[in-house]
Symmetry: C2
DNA sequence: TGAATTTAGTTTCCAAGTCAATTAAATTCT
DNA sequence: AGAATTTAATTGACTTGGAAACTAAATTCA
């Protein structure tokens, strides 16, 4: 009994990569207008809630490896979007904070992001979107 | 009336990135044992069906930009997994073909991939997996 | 036909990411 | 206490990816 080879589109890994690529593409294009990359948006979005996070916590939530985060934060600091502050309890830790400029920039960016998310919502429908988020949550 | 800010986990873009990252991580770890990266696997998986594809077609299907594909193929050629053949009709085009060594390697790799996919299937269940592929298809 | 344009693939230059090593601070253990 | 270990973040060497420029072949059109 011979196995029939699935087309590559049927691999979860492939389907995820394709969808991720498509969504990222349009997001990158939108964010480029504001001079930030997706990861920088994630960082600012996370920090803008006011939570006080260390680099390590941020790396986990923002889906960025620590070395890449360090370097990206260097750039964001020199752009004036965030600043580092060494933690008072543990001097090894660094808290990252969003600046006033960063917050101002986020107002414009958030409109762009909202627009993109609305477009996806419209494309998939409310129910499918919810289902998608639910299933994806089970993979992370 | 004030807008309540969604947590970042509710953005489709974030949920996709998180799931993609998680799935890729384990896939990368598995493929590393065989000395190939995910994109190289995709290329060989696609070529192993025997279809005669140009670099451009392959780039689209394998989700790789043309310059990155060129460079990856250079490496794969020097590893002996694939070889280039200029197309007979149109000498600008290049057909990429998998070698016997590449096919041999794919037998081992496919077992690994199958194992990973089975694990996901088990994690999500048959129905959710199908639903996921269906919804993701609408985004690509 | 042959000059101008388009298309396919590659190359170049630069930006960004990874892995492993490093630094500095905190914690553990004797 | 203080030596040894663990933890947090960064740095350094190297690899890979992207945008734009480039080469070569095919096609269009005057």
């Amino acid at each position: 009994m011979s196995e029939l080879q699935n087309p590559i589109e049927d691999y979860v890994s492939y389907a995820l990569a394709a969808a991720h690529r498509a969504v990222n593409r349009s997001l990158v294009a939108r964010l480029k207008k504001h001079g930030v990359q997706i990861e920088a948006w994630r960082i600012m979005e996370i920090l803008d809630t006011g939570r006080r996070l260390t680099m390590g916590e941020l790396a986990q939530i923002a889906l960025i490896n620590p070395p890449a985060l360090s370097k990206l934060v260097d750039r964001m600091v020199s752009n004036g979007f965030v600043h580092r502050q060494s933690a008072q309890n543990d001097h090894r830790q660094v808290n990252l904070l969003i600046t006033a400029l960063g917050q101002k920039r986020m107002i414009q960016i958030r409109a762009e992001i909202q627009d993109q998310d609305d477009q996806i919502l419209q494309q998939l429908g409310d129910e499918q979107t919810k289902k998608l988020l639910d299933i994806l949550g089970g993979l992370s």
